[in-house]
């Protein structure tokens, strides 16, 4: 997903990870499976087959961990902002933030062809440092962003 904002102060591109399951959807799904699984296990407990319950607990714990891992990535995003003489690339991954700053005059946009068709990767380069970005964009979106960024860097 891509959100580009252009205002008086400059240009800002926000790319988010594609998560088709909303936090609410995640909670609803987990609640529904817990109710079904524990409902079955508790019913068997009362019929004497109590051994089903520990397995249901283990299984739900694994599912919970899996959903938590997904959730921890839900906020992952990349931001590229251009203001005055600065170009900043920021990444948020599992709550960790990394920030790379470039001088707008020296920053170069690199578009790497990665395969047949439009497959490409984006990076910003300056003074021996290169930072890749655009992981959450489609190839088509990368090319659009590339031409926009190139124009803004060139016109400085």
């Amino acid at each position: 997903m891509q959100i580009a904002e252009v205002d008086a102060s400059g240009y800002r591109l926000i790319c988010r990870r594609n998560d088709s399951l909303s936090p609410r959807g995640r909670r609803l799904f987990f609640a529904s499976i817990v109710v079904v699984s524990f409902g079955i296990a508790i019913a068997w407990w009362f019929r004497g087959a109590w051994v089903v319950l520990p397995f249901a607990v283990i299984e739900m714990a694994v599912l919970y961990i899996a959903l938590r891992v997904l959730e921890s990535h839900a906020g992952d995003c990349e931001m590229v902002s251009i203001s005055d003489d600065r170009v900043v690339v920021e990444r948020y991954e599992r709550g960790r933030r990394s920030r790379h700053e470039f001088n707008r005059y020296w920053a170069q946009l690199v578009v790497r062809r990665l395969g047949p068709g439009d497959r490409c990767g984006l990076a910003l380069r300056s003074h021996g440092k290169e930072v890749g970005f655009g992981d959450y964009l489609t190839d088509e979106q990368r090319l659009t962003v590339a031409s926009e960024l190139r124009r803004r860097l060139k016109n400085y």
């Binding site: 004497g48 087959a49 599912l63 997904l70």
Partner: protein, 527 residues
């Protein structure tokens, strides 16, 4: 130069394409893992099939020919266990691995390392099952249902079977969690739930079913284990336990398991029929609801497997009517498939032949299921060859034929080559003829009273048994032809275009053939 790359694939070694043995051992790629699942399940199909040949050889004529009765019981038991847990279930997981990410526009499964682990649990489980023939006392002969009290009394082979079932169950749970999270969280932008391909829908519901019932199976076999070795008496009447409890617990897992083995087959057929009828699937929404209805109903019909345990008439009536109710959503599906073909511009390439074959024979299996659902009739035919005929019509002609259809349908996408159409059609015709030769006559045997799981029988059953055995040998050999067609296709053949079937719809057909090692690294946008 200092390089700080997010996920620049040109430089990211985690995305390198490994080669050799390590590629297969350590791979986290959904296509590689799907391929391993499919080969594993085919190997298990051949193993279980070999045991079936052993069964049919013994039953070729009355009298004891080859095996001791105990070994015959081991053959039937292991045939069932291997086919259910080793062949059919992993085959569908293989399809899920290959197809779901490509169909929803995802780069891979949600938990790629767990995916690798869930596959590699299967070979040790298979080794446990197969080597149990060679331990003192041989493999378990308690039937694939492992009914107590017989299973409590058996030798070491039973313990190996219990461990194998546990391991395969763990693999299934991890596989299901992976599939469900992939489908829910990794769909391409724009692909709402009601825009998902039917194959994805059926797997979403199947994965939910698996997560719901696998602890029940694990509990059942653990109680068997503790009864055998740790002095508990869950199923031992002498110690205050109840052997019938095992049947209830097992079938509470076992009946949803039947749908776990057939719902993805419905999904495959729902992809293929519209393609070769060149029409959209008739009643997509009703197909989704019918699939969900079948899954929900599967939780309330388990005791139709045990009408003769002595349950009250009210219980018999409830389970009879609940079972018959399943015919409604199943009928909706059959109607929709037929309506999709109605006035379609149909062609009959091998995937379509297998799908239409599925439609005929699975519907017959459904009807015989209705017969079995009627309590007074079931009391007459339970534990006879009629039941054997019924579930083979559902599981061989249903699940296996759909799997064959799916392999032929997606083989060009997987390998980049077209398969040999003539040989594919030959495979279909031989399969459907030999299948019916084998199992149709079993209806007559069952109605005439021939019990299942016996190595010898009265002479009046001889002719039909001979026909069934000849059919079984033919059916078994025919599957070697399938192996030949697949290997030939992998090794070469006419180059397959991105969309080899002109009526095909879906994201997987937007990728080149063979599908690249990494597909949809960024999700496409679904309009």
């Amino acid at each position: 130069m200092e390089a700080v790359h997010g996920h620049d694939h040109a430089h990211d070694h985690g995305h390198d394409h490994p080669t050799g043995l390590m590629r297969w051992l350590t791979t986290t790629n959904h296509k590689d893992i799907g391929t391993m699942y499919l080969w594993f399940s085919f190997l298990m199909l051949l193993t279980g099939g070999t045991l079936a040949m052993g069964i049919r050889a013994e039953l070729f004529e009355p009298g004891m020919q080859f095996w001791r009765p105990e070994f015959f019981n081991q053959l039937t038991t292991m045939h069932g266990l291997i086919m259910v847990f080793g062949a059919i279930m992993p085959a569908f997981v293989g399809f899920a691995n290959w197809q779901i990410p490509m169909m929803i526009g995802a780069s891979d499964m949600a938990f790629a390392r767990m995916n690798n682990f869930s596959f590699w649990l299967l070979p040790p489980a298979a080794i446990l099952l197969v080597t149990s023939f060679f331990v003192p006392g041989g493999a378990t002969g308690a039937g694939w249902t492992l009914y107590a009290p017989l299973s409590v009394q058996q030798g070491m082979g039973m313990d190996l079977a219990i461990f194998a079932v546990h391991i395969m169950g763990a693999s299934s749970i991890m596989g299901s969690i992976n599939i469900i999270t992939t489908i829910l969280n990794m769909r391409a932008p724009g692909m709402t739930l009601m825009k998902m391909p039917m194959f994805v829908w059926t797997w979403l519901i199947t994965a939910y079913l698996l997560i719901a019932v696998m602890p029940v199976l694990a509990g059942a076999v653990t109680m068997l284990l503790t009864d055998r070795h740790f002095g508990t008496h869950f199923f031992n009447a002498a110690g205050g336990g109840d052997p019938v409890l095992y049947q209830h617990v097992f079938w509470f897992f076992g009946h949803p398991e039947v749908y776990i083995m057939i719902l993805p087959a419905f999904g495959i057929v729902s992809q293929i029929i519209p393609t070769f009828a060149r029409k959209p699937l008739f009643g997509y929404t009703s197909m989704v609801y019918a699939t969900a209805s079948i899954a929900i109903l599967s939780f309330i019909v388990w005791a139709h497997h045990m009408f003769v345990v002595g349950m009250p008439a009210a219980g018999q009536l409830f389970f009879m009517y609940a079972t018959m109710l399943i015919a409604v959503p199943t009928g909706v599906k059959v109607f929709n498939w037929v309506a999709t073909m109605w006035k379609g511009s149909m062609t009959f390439e091998t995937p379509m032949l297998f799908s239409v074959g599925f439609l005929f024979v699975f519907t017959m299996g459904g009807f015989t299921g209705l017969v079995c659902a009627i309590t007074p009739i079931d009391i007459q035919i339970q534990d006879t060859y009629y039941v054997v005929a019924h579930f083979h019509y559902v599981l061989v002609a249903g699940s296996l034929f759909a799997l064959f259809a799916g392999v032929y349908f997606w083989l060009p996408k997987w390998t980049g080559h077209m398969y040999d159409e003539k040989l594919g059609k030959l495979h279909f015709w031989l399969s459907i003829i030999f299948f019916n030769l084998t199992f149709f006559v079993m209806h007559f045997l069952g109605l005439a009273g021939m019990p299942r799981r016996i190595p010898d029988y009265a002479p009046q059953f001889a002719d039909f048994n001979m026909i069934a055995s000849l059919g079984a040998f033919g059916f078994g050999l025919t599957q070697l032809l399938f192996l030949y067609v697949v290997v030939k296709c992998i090794r070469g053949g006419e180059k397959a275009p991105a969309k080899p079937w002109d009526g095909a719809e879906g994201l997987e057909w937007t990728l080149p053939s063979p599908a690249p090692y990494h597909s949809f690294e960024t999700p496409p946008i679904v309009k």
